[in-house]
Amino acid sequence: MAEEKKYDELTFEQAMEKLENIVTMLEEGDVPLEKAIEYYHDGMKLSKLCNEKLTNVQEKMVHILNEQGELEPFDIEEEK
């Protein structure tokens, strides 16, 4: 459980890095079988996490700083 939470706090980048490390370790082949299945488990969890992070598109806008120093939406289409 503690681990799961820790996973949730990871950035996408950290999760990817962890995942990649796990893959690399497993591929290098020096991991004992029982450890490997643990890593595998972790890797699968991380992959799920990364997937979620990638596909979860938050509400987002492009902003521009106006002359008053405030951010306002920036719509690039208008310029065309």
Binding site: E20, C50, K60, L65
Partner: protein, 456 residues
């Protein structure tokens, strides 16, 4: 005559006055190559200007050389404005340089090169000074003109690649007198919110060197360098390189390129994740299969049959050994038995009974022989004795006379054996069995063959 001689000083002054008063020599435009350049510690520059055939000593005082946009170097071709005069103490004429600029290249280039060199010397371009561009930024600051293709390219590219990344445009003038300060201010503004921005893109679209010049200004370069937020530069086109490009943490060839460098592609990332999953699963599967095969191979090796075979083999060995033990022991005992039996037979043939019998026979025979030979001996003796006695009896003289015989003796006592031994009238004695008769020879007759007598 002696008074006609000039002093050196007088001559030199004369020559100097002549030259100084020549209006052509007051304003000289000269093209030549720098050599023997020496920047004196007090600020003046001493140098020689030469061409292929001639050279001239020159000096540029610090009051003049402080305005130089470039730093003179030996071998450099230069355009010079100055005046010619004489330096009395050495009696040499020389060129006093007022202005100097490199021959062939413009002053802007010179300034670019010199700023580049200066900042480089300061270490602003060093790789270890560069900040790492985050691989997965959440928020990108775009410092450029809010109008034009550059901002559009950047924003659309980022939205396409990473829909989840925030974009904030920090609008600036990218050319004109306000440009430098506007850019510097925007960078500093972003840095005031350095937690917000993961990366900054600073740049503009393509243009002339003069249009891009703001990005060659030292202030802009230093602002980029000082930024704690990683900066990607994207100025002009691929061929244009500005000081900002050198000092930025990452240089992009175009604004679009900057956007691509700033954010990852979501599709690629998803692919990457699923590739990782695939590799993970592959590794696990391979491992499990490999181990299964290894385990299976191990379980089916000869080794697991070995103990059974070993037992069987040992059984046989033991049986053989036991047989051999029994056989060899029996052989040993039998050998001894046979030897014993043989000896016993030999001993029994040596049974002394035969010998005893033989000895007894022999003894008996000898005894018999002894008896016989003794008896023989005795008998022989007895017989011999008897023979002798018989013979003695035969010759018993008394026995002969008993039959009527007598023995005649002459007077000499000799036995008369023939008629020829006597004469008539001889006296003879006749011995008879039981005594003597005395007689006289009266007749002698010879006996004839018929037993008759014949008178002689």
């Amino acid at each position: 005559m002696k008074d006609n001689y000039l002093t050196v000083t007088a001559l030199t002054r004369y020559v100097k006055r002549k030259i100084d008063t020549d209006p052509h020599l007051r304003q000289v435009w000269l093209r030549g190559e720098i050599s023997n350049f020496k920047h004196h510690s007090r600020g003046h520059m001493y140098l020689t200007i030469k061409d292929d055939n001639a050279r001239i000593q020159a000096v540029m005082f610090s009051s003049n050389n402080s305005r130089l946009l470039f730093r003179p170097e030996n071998g450099m071709s230069v355009l010079i404005r100055g005046e010619v005069s004489v330096y009395e103490s050495s009696g040499q004429y020389q060129l006093y340089i007022r202005e100097m600029e490199p021959d062939g290249i413009g002053a802007l280039y010179q300034a670019f090169e010199q700023l580049k060199e200066k900042l480089q010397t300061e270490g602003l371009f060093l790789d270890d000074q560069k900040k790492k561009i985050p691989a997965y930024p959440d928020h990108v600051g775009v410092i450029t003109s809010p109008t034009g293709a550059a901002v559009r390219d950047i924003v659309t590219t980022i939205e396409r690649r990473s829909p989840s990344v925030k974009i904030t445009v920090l609008p600036v003038s990218v050319q004109g007198p306000q440009a430098v300060s506007s850019i510097v201010r925007a960078i500093q503004y972003a840095n005031a919110f350095s937690d917000e921005y993961d990366v900054l893109i600073v740049g503009r679209g393509g243009g002339s060197i003069e249009e891009l010049w703001s990005f060659n200004e030292e202030a802009v370069a230093r602002a980029i360098y000082d930024s704690s937020i990683p900066v990607i530069s994207a100025v002009g086109h691929e061929t244009d390189t500005t000081i900002a490009d050198f000092v930025a943490d990452l240089r992009a060839p175009t604004p679009t390129g900057a956007a691509e460098l700033a954010v990852p592609s979501q599709t690629e990332q998803l692919d990457k994740v699923s590739y990782f999953v695939q590799r993970l699963t592959q590794v696990m599967r391979t491992d499990i299969q490999m181990y299964s095969k290894r385990l299976e191979r191990l379980s089916q090796t000869y080794a697991f049959k070995y103990p059974k075979q070993l037992i069987a083999q040992k059984e046989q060995e033991l049986d053989t050994m036991l047989d051999t033990l029994n056989r060899s022991f029996k052989n040993r005992v039998e050998e001894k038995q046979v030897r014993y039996t043989h000896l016993k037979k030999r001993l029994s043939t040596q049974h002394p009974e035969q010998e005893i019998k033989a000895a007894a026979d022999n003894n008996h025979k000898l005894t018999t022989q002894l008896n016989r030979s003794m008896k023989q001996l005795f008998t022989n003796s007895e017989r011999e004795l008897q023979t002798s006695i018989n013979k003695l009896t035969l010759v018993n003289p008394l026995a002969i006379m008993a039959r009527g015989y007598g023995i005649s003796y002459n007077e000499d006592g000799k036995v008369i054996k023939s008629i020829k031994e006597v004469d008539l009238g001889d006296q003879i004695d006749v011995r008879l069995k039981d005594g003597y008769v005395q007689a006289e020879v009266q007749k002698i007759k010879e006996a004839d063959d018929s037993g008759g007598r014949k008178e002689i």
